[in-house]
């Protein structure tokens, strides 16, 4: 049996990959794992429920959003720009990490994760939220509800969520420009 092929060109973490031949119908998580060696996005459920596999899709209008790669075919990403967990921290020219993102650092400082399997998804969700709040700050009194809404779909079995939520809340409250006065 011959497997049909489609070309894919995608920019991941600022680097263009492709055009490359991708078996038609392959989900993006498989392309990341099997063809590009980017194994940080995690397969949790395979049906779009747990959100461990989300990447950040950077739209041309400067907004960003999470996309579940376990249920999104690779073809969807043709010509698009995405970020995966491998691109979150700052690295030097040798690829060594020189600085974690504020979200990553907060997760470490606050012991937010345990087994870490869901963590890439939480980092991406929190990153998208922080970027959204930069564009549209929320009243300080709504931060907890905002965090809860943004992370609600992400499943974590180890932590009970508390230290994830608290870390994201604290990043938002301590980063200038993400909140505003009022209710």
């Amino acid at each position: 049996m011959t497997i049909p092929i489609r070309p894919l060109t995608v920019t991941i973490n600022g680097r263009q990959h492709g055009p490359m031949d991708v078996p038609e119908g392959l989900m993006m998580i498989d392309v990341l794992h099997e063809m590009l060696g980017l194994t940080g996005s995690r397969l949790g459920c395979g049906i779009g429920i747990c959100h461990a596999c989300v990447v950040i899709w950077d739209r041309d209008d400067q907004t960003s959003e999470e996309v579940r790669t376990c249920i999104t075919g690779a073809g969807f990403f043709d010509g698009k720009r995405i970020r995966t967990i491998e691109g979150t921290a700052q690295t030097d020219e040798r690829g060594e990490i020189v600085a974690l993102s504020p979200v990553q650092q907060a997760f470490l400082d606050q012991f937010s994760f345990q087994c870490g399997y869901c963590t890439p998804g939480f980092v991406n969700a929190a990153t998208v939220l922080v970027e959204r709040l930069k564009r549209a700050p929320v009243p300080r009194g709504e931060v907890q509800a905002t965090v809860a809404a943004a992370l609600e779909t992400h499943i974590c079995r180890c932590t009970g969520y508390v230290r994830y939520y608290q870390a994201v809340r604290d990043v938002i409250l301590t980063t200038p420009g993400l909140t505003r006065d009022g209710t």
């Binding site: 049996m1 497997i3 078996p23 119908g25 392959l26 498989d30 099997e34 995690r42 397969l43 949790g44 459920c45 395979g46 049906i47 429920i49 747990c50 461990a52 606050q110 012991f111 345990q114 087994c115 870490g116 399997y117 869901c118 907890q144 809860a148 992370l151 609600e152 779909t153 499943i155 974590c156 079995r157 180890c158 932590t159 009970g160 969520y161 508390v162 230290r163 939520y165």
Partner: protein
């Protein structure tokens, strides 16, 4: 690969897992979801698309005639009877400790208990007293309240987010097998894989096991997946093979939580609220393979009395075999199920007697020195009473009646409730063994190697931190899940749980022997047991490396004037009043230069007490709570000392001079080290939807001195979330509609989300330790249990209805509210 391939090559599971690794053609499967074949693909995309064709496709397997499920004897049954003396402190009339548990035979696949005889054998005597308890409960004194209730807990999935997987490569030319396996029990996998290959027609010269940082909540402890990975690798045509469950597979094939059915009868004196008698019949569904079902069920049975003292008790327990999926050591290990039922019953009895539910608990709480249901006195100070007192005074409890009135008035259609649950639970398995090696570099950097596996609980962080007690700083580098210990050869044989004292005495003559080699990461064993060996290794380095180095720097006479116990580490410097503070780096340099001890590897064994032994270190007799010790001397050691170093990393393996292993009798008494926990919950039930909104919860834990408080609080938060899931959301059908059919996933198995756990409105407190020397105690598993009863008791407070089957789902609430 099919069963025929495995039979040809004489490949089979290690004995623990039973027969038919793959189901032979023409044979009735023992259980739903039993593996039939492994298909190996050499190209990923082809695998992916083939899998899509195969998944959910029942036509892939050709079925023969319908035979009906197999009928098999239970995996095991036992009965734990106790008739106490006049007081909790007096000699028992009959108990497990004094006489023994009662064993059953099987007839027509049902347990049959021995005939009672007061003067018969232990089993007959036990049944005599069991029957006397039955008779008394059937014809109780007038002042007794006797309540009989049936409880049931659900089958479930542990839902480790990383599904089971195993990666392997068999190099046929060299006969090397390489395995990369996420497992809680790497030692078990190493031994099991070697045994498998040894019995097969396939040659094995070397096994390379690379255990991973993982997560399991019991499902990756003694799990069959690594062995499927072994055979996949063997048939991989020389290629590395990855075997990885997706979530449907994981529901279909991962080890499940045992479903429990429990009939409890409890008698309480009405006037005093004193518990008098407890009888239980517990049936746990162990599913298709025995795995740990017997041990887990017996832990459930021996935990059923929870934190209470009963003068008389009779608990019968059976682990049945069924066509349900095979079950493993899911978090809570039987005690979660049996203690939850107890906590529901105690609440109902308090209600019936008109006694405050925590007051009733306090009147009956097991205190230090009292005997447990096996007739043994639990080790250490019992602190359940302190937890109960703290809970009784908590505002969530004290103001509940007024708050209910106010809440219900302000929220028409919602019912407010507050509930409480408390438990006390052993940590450790009763045969804990670990290895640790602590080494100081010339610049003072500390390296720790440990046999324990990181499973997300933070054991790697806590073990690194544990080094600081003796070395002044946490380990700089650490290696967990180490299975190769060339610097500390330890031999083991026999079963530490069942061996006779005579066998142990005989085997202990071998200075390399220990009853067990290395434990899995399980049973909340890192805080206490892993830490013990880490700190014993660090202590040896301190006492025979750093301390003599410090004395040498401080100068003549110091040895007489200052003692190691006078010293303190401050800012990574060793300080003694009146002496120059010495930074670790300087001490390490000095210890190396003088050829003092700069590394120690230890093996420890605990059967509710530590093995201990004497060793001669550098000419000095050393007593340590370990049964194996090797030391490494600094680079400045003379030739004579260096010549003693025989291992690859230049360690001297010491022959112990005397050893004292904990007696084998400790296996029978189930004394254990306990951690006590209580949880208060506040919730609202929506009358229209039946949904339960958890408003707040508060957990009280006593766990000794915490190694890393953030890890303790994280474990409380995570464990309570699991308890919430089991109380309200999670369940799996046992049989044909259950996960064995391959159609289960998170779309219908609801794992709690942030909105389910009162994420912003939960609190916890850890009681102050009894002393600065109280060791850290295991608490991760225990912390998730009391919230289950606390939620169901709160639902009773809210609605007036007592649920006795878990989970309490909205549809069931709607039924009773209708």
């Amino acid at each position: 690969m099919t069963a025929a391939d495995l039979a040809r090559d004489r490949l089979a599971f290690p004995d623990f897992y039973g027969e038919d690794m793959l189901l032979p053609q023409g044979k009735t499967p023992a259980y739903l979801g039993q593996a039939v074949a492994i298909l190996i693909y050499h190209e990923f995309a082809r695998f992916r698309f083939a899998r899509e064709k195969l998944q959910f496709n029942d036509a892939v397997i050709r079925y023969g005639a319908v035979t009906g499920p197999l009928r098999r004897d239970p995996w095991g049954a036992a009965r734990f009877v106790r008739v106490g003396g006049r007081t909790p402190y007096d000699d028992d009339v009959f108990s497990c400790l004094k006489q023994g548990p009662v064993s059953a035979t099987f007839d027509n696949h049902e347990p049959v208990w021995p005939k009672p005889a007061r003067d018969g054998g232990i089993d007959a005597q036990g049944m005599y007293y069991a029957n006397s308890i039955t008779d008394e409960l059937a014809h109780p004194p007038a002042e007794w309240l006797v309540l009989t209730r049936d409880y049931a807990t659900q089958s479930g999935d542990t839902t480790a987010l990383e599904p089971d997987n195993a990666n392997g490569w068999y190099d046929a030319d060299k006969q090397d097998l390489h395995l990369v396996v996420p497992t809680q029990s790497p030692q078990e996998v190493a031994e099991g894989a070697a045994t498998m290959l040894e019995r097969s027609r396939i040659g094995l010269k070397r096994l390379f096991l690379h255990p991973c940082f993982t997560v399991g909540y019991g499902s990756k402890d003694h799990c069959p997946m690594p062995y499927y990975g072994v055979i996949a690798a063997l048939y991989g045509d020389g290629r590395p093979v990855r075997l990885a469950n997706d979530r449907f597979d994981q529901f279909q094939a991962g080890l499940k939580r045992h479903q429990f059915g429990m009939r409890y009868t409890m008698a309480v004196e009405r006037n005093t609220g004193q518990m008098q008698s407890f009888q239980a019949n517990i049936v746990a569904n162990g599913g298709g393979r025995a795995n740990c079902s017997v041990a887990l069920t017996m832990v459930g049975a021996t935990s059923a009395e929870s934190v209470y003292y009963f003068p008389k008790s009779d608990v019968a327990a059976t682990a049945i075999a069924s066509r349900a999926l095979d079950c493993g050591s899911a978090r809570g290990y039987g005690a979660l199920e049996s203690m939850t039922a107890t906590e529901l019953m105690v609440d109902e009895i308090a209600d019936a007697l008109g006694i405050d539910a925590i007051d009733l608990r306090l009147r009956n709480v097991l205190k230090t020195g009292m005997k447990n249901a096996q007739g043994a006195v639990p080790l250490g100070v019992q602190r359940a009473e302190a937890v109960l007192q703290q809970a009784r005074a908590h505002p969530l409890w004290t103001g509940r009646a007024a708050r209910k009135q106010a809440y219900d008035a302000a929220h028409p259609g919602k019912y407010y409730g507050v509930g409480f649950g408390s438990i006390q639970r052993r940590f450790g398995t009763g045969a804990e063994a670990s290895l640790a090696k602590v080494e100081l570099a010339l610049d003072g950097r500390v390296t720790l190697s440990h046999s324990g596996t990181e499973i997300g609980t933070g054991a790697s962080s806590s073990q690194a931190v544990a080094c600081a007690r003796w070395l002044g700083r946490p380990a700089d580098a650490l290696d967990m899940a180490v299975t190769d210990w060339p610097d500390l050869p330890v031999q083991t044989s026999g079963d530490p749980h069942t061996m006779s004292q005579a066998d142990q005495n005989r085997l202990a003559q071998n200075p390399r022997w220990s009853p067990a080699y290395a434990s899995a990461s399980s049973a909340s064993n890192s805080a206490y047991y892993f830490t013990h060996v880490t700190q014993e290794a660090a202590r040896v380095v301190y006492l025979y490396g750093l301390w003599p180095a410090a004395l040498a720097i401080w100068g003549s006479g110091s040895a007489q004037e200052v003692k190691p116990e006078d010293a303190q580490w401050r800012n990574e410097s060793l300080t003694v009043e009146g002496r120059e503070p010495l930074p670790l780096a300087r001490l390490a340099h000095e210890a190396h230069a003088r050829g003092l001890v700069v590394g120690a590897a230890v093996h420890g064994f605990n059967r509710w007490q530590w093995a201990e032994a004497d060793f001669v270190v550098d000419g000095v007799l050393v007593h340590a709570l370990v049964d194996g010790l090797s030391v490494r001397f600094g680079n400045g050691a003379g030739a004579a000392k260096q010549a003693l170093s025989s291992t690859p990393n230049r360690y001297q393996v010491l022959d112990r001079r005397a050893v004292s292993f904990p007696p084998t009798q400790n296996n029978n008494v189930m004394i254990g080290y306990n951690t006590a926990v209580g949880t208060l919950t506040e919730l609202a039930v929506d009358a229209a939807s039946g949904k339960v909104a958890l408003l707040r919860h508060h957990t009280i834990v006593e766990c000794g001195n915490m190694l890393v408080p953030q890890l303790v609080s994280g474990q409380i938060q995570g464990a309570t979330a699991t308890g919430i899931g089991l109380a309200l959301h999670e369940w799996l059908p046992l049989y044909e509609d259950g996960p064995g059919n391959g159609t289960w996933n998170f779309n219908r198995y609801h794992v709690p989300r942030g909105s389910d756990v009162a994420v912003w409105d939960q609190t916890a407190e850890v009681l102050p330790p009894l002393s600065k020397n109280e060791p850290p105690k295991g608490m991760a598993e225990v912390a998730g249990i009391p919230i289950m009863a606390a939620i169901v008791n709160a639902i009773a407070h809210a609605t007036g209805h007592r649920f006795r089957t878990l989970p309490v789902t909205p549809d069931r609430i709607l039924e009773v509210l209708a």
